[in-house]
Amino acid sequence: MICAIPVVNYKLLYVRIILVLIKMKTKLALIVHGGAGTVAQSRHPQKLAGVQQALRAGYEVLKATNNPVDAVEASIKVMELDEAFNAGYGSMLTCNGEVEMDAILIRGSDLKAGAVGAMKNVAHPISVCKAIMEKTPHVLLVGDGAEQFAKEHGFPVTVTTSEQLTAPRARNLLERVLAKQTVASTEASDSSHDDAPKSLSKGEGGTVGAVAINTFGEIAAGTSTGGIAAKLPGRVGDTPIIGGGTFCDDAICGAGATGLGEAIMRTCVCSRIANALEKGEEPNQACLSALEFMTSRIPEGDGGAIVLTKDGEVGFNFNSNQMSWAYIKQDENVIHYGIEKGDDFTVPYSDS
C-alpha cells in the first residue's frame, strides 16, 4: 500500500509568507459616523453609545477576518437597528408616512459597488447592497426593483417589516412637519409650505456611515440612511451616488458624507475629498475643504464627512453643529469618539 506522506515544501511556504508580508502595508483602521446636523443635548448619550457599539462590532469582524467589506457591513447593521440613527429602524419618514431607504457599499480594490435607492420593507439595506455588489454586474437598484431583488436573495421583505422600521420618534417628527406645513399654508405667511422640510433637514441628520481598511491597504466604505423627514416618495439623496455621499478607491481613500443630501450631490462632496487628498491636503482638512466648498456654493447645505486614506490615516470634520463619530486604529488600540466640535473622548479597546 502506498501511503501519501505529507511533505512540506518549505521553499514554497517561505515564498508565500514573504508575499503575504509584502502585501501587508497598512494597519487596521475603522471609522464610523452617526450623522451630521443639529443634535439635541438629550440625544447625545445614545448617539455616543451607538457609534461606539457600531465601531466595536465592525472592528471585531475586521480583526477576525481582515475583510473591510464585512467590517463596514457589521458596523452599519448595528446602526440600522439602533433607533438613535436615521437608518433602517429609526429612519425618517416620507410625507406619506413610509420608510424609504438609500444605502451603498463600495469595495476599493476593483471599485465594485452595490447601492439601493428608495427601497422599502427591508431591515438591512447595507446587506442588500453587499448582495448587489457580489452577485450582480449592476451597481444601483431602486424602488420596487430593489425590493424584488432583496426578496429573491433571501432577505425578509414584508409590509410588517416597514411598520417595524417605523420608530415612534420618526412618526412624531413627521406629524410636526406636516402640521407646520398646514399652518404655514393657511397662514399665507412669507414662508412657503416648503419651509418645514428644509428646516428639518437641518435637523438631526442621522445618516450613518463607515470606512474600514485592512492590512493589505484594501478599503471599503458604506453609508445607509432613511433620508430627510417628509421627503417626497421616491426621493433619493446623495448616499447611493458614488462620488457624492460615498467614495472608495484603494489608490486614494474611502470616504463618507452626511448632511443635506441635495447639497452633497450637487457638489460631489466625496469626490472632492479624494481630489483634495491627491493634492496633498491632510485628511481632516480635505474633509473640511469639501464641506466648505459645498456650503459656499449652496448656503443652505452643511454637514460632515469621514475618511481613511490609502495609508490608513484617519480624518473627519463637520461644519454642521454636531456629528457623532468614532474611530479606532490598530496601532493605538484606543477608541476615539465624540459629537461636539473639538471632542476627542477615548476609551481603551479590549476584546469582549
Binding site: 476593483d110 449592476h138 421616491g234 433619493v236
Partner: protein
Amino acid sequence: MDPVVVVHGGAWAIPESMAERSVLGVQEAAKAAWRVLETGGNSIDAVEAAITVLEDDPVFDSGTGAVLTMDGTVELDAIIMEGNSLGAGSVACVERIKNPIQLARKVMEQADHVMLVGKGANMFAEECGIPQVPMEQLVTPEAIESWEFFKKYRCTVQTLFSNRVEELPGSEFVNGHETVGCVVMDKTGLLTAGTSTGGITAKRVGRVGDSPLIGCGAYADNASAAVSCTGHGESISKVCLASLVTEKCRLGIHPNKAIRESLSYMNKRVGGAGGAICIDNKGNIGIGFNTERMAWASKTNVESVYGLDAGERIVF
C-alpha cells in the same frame, strides 16, 4: 460668450443599419438647440429641446425607442444640470413619460429634491402636469426584437455561464449604448448638461445606470465645464466619469484631452468603454469615445460639424 451646442446619440458599435438615422438625428437635435438659443432661450431651454428631439427619435435608446427591461417594460432615466447655482434634476426608472428630460427639469425647478425615482417620480409628474402616455407608445419593433434575442440567448447560456452575456458575439446588437446627451453654453456663459436613457436591454427592473447620477452621467459647473457621458453604465458610475472630466477641465486641461484621459483611466481601472461630450467655461469643445463609434454633432457661430467614426468631422 459665443454660444456652443454639442449633442451625442450614444457611444457603441453602431451598426450600418442605424448609422444614417443616428447622424441625422444628432444633427436635428443640434439644430433644435440652436434655434432655441437664437430665439432668446438659455442653455437650459436648449438642452431640454435637443434631448426632447432625441427622446422622440426612435433610433435612440431614450424616450421612444428605449430598450426594454427583463419584464418587457420601459423604464427611463434622465438628468439636467445647470452650472450657475449647480441646480440639478434627475429621474430614474420612470414609466410612461414621453420626455423624461422635461420631467427632470421640473424636478430641478419645482421640487425641493434633486432626484426622484420610480413610482414617486411618476406621482410628481402627475402633480406638475407632465402628461403620461401608454407604455406601448414608447415601444418600437427594434426594442422588442433586441429583448427577445437577449432573452433567448440568456436562457440558453444561463446554465453554462454566469451572466456575462455582454461578452457573447452578437450581443452588441442587444447591448447597444444609445444613451443621448447634450451640453450647451449660451451667450451669458451659462453651462448646462443633460443625459437621457432607457438603460440596457433586458435590465433588471429597478436597475439604474450612470445616466441620471450627478457626477457620473452628467455634470455642469460654470467654474469648470458641462459634460454628458455614454457607454457602459456601471463602469461610468464606478469612476464618476463626468466628475473626472470636469475636474481636469477645471485644472486647465483642454476638454478633448480631459475626455481622452478619463476614458483611458476608466478602461484601465474597471474595463468599460464609452464616450463623452464637453464644453469648458472658455467655450472649448471636447468630443471623445473609445467605443467603435459615437454619433455626435456640434454647432457654433463658426461651424456645424458631425461625426460617427473615430476622427470623423463632416460639415453640415
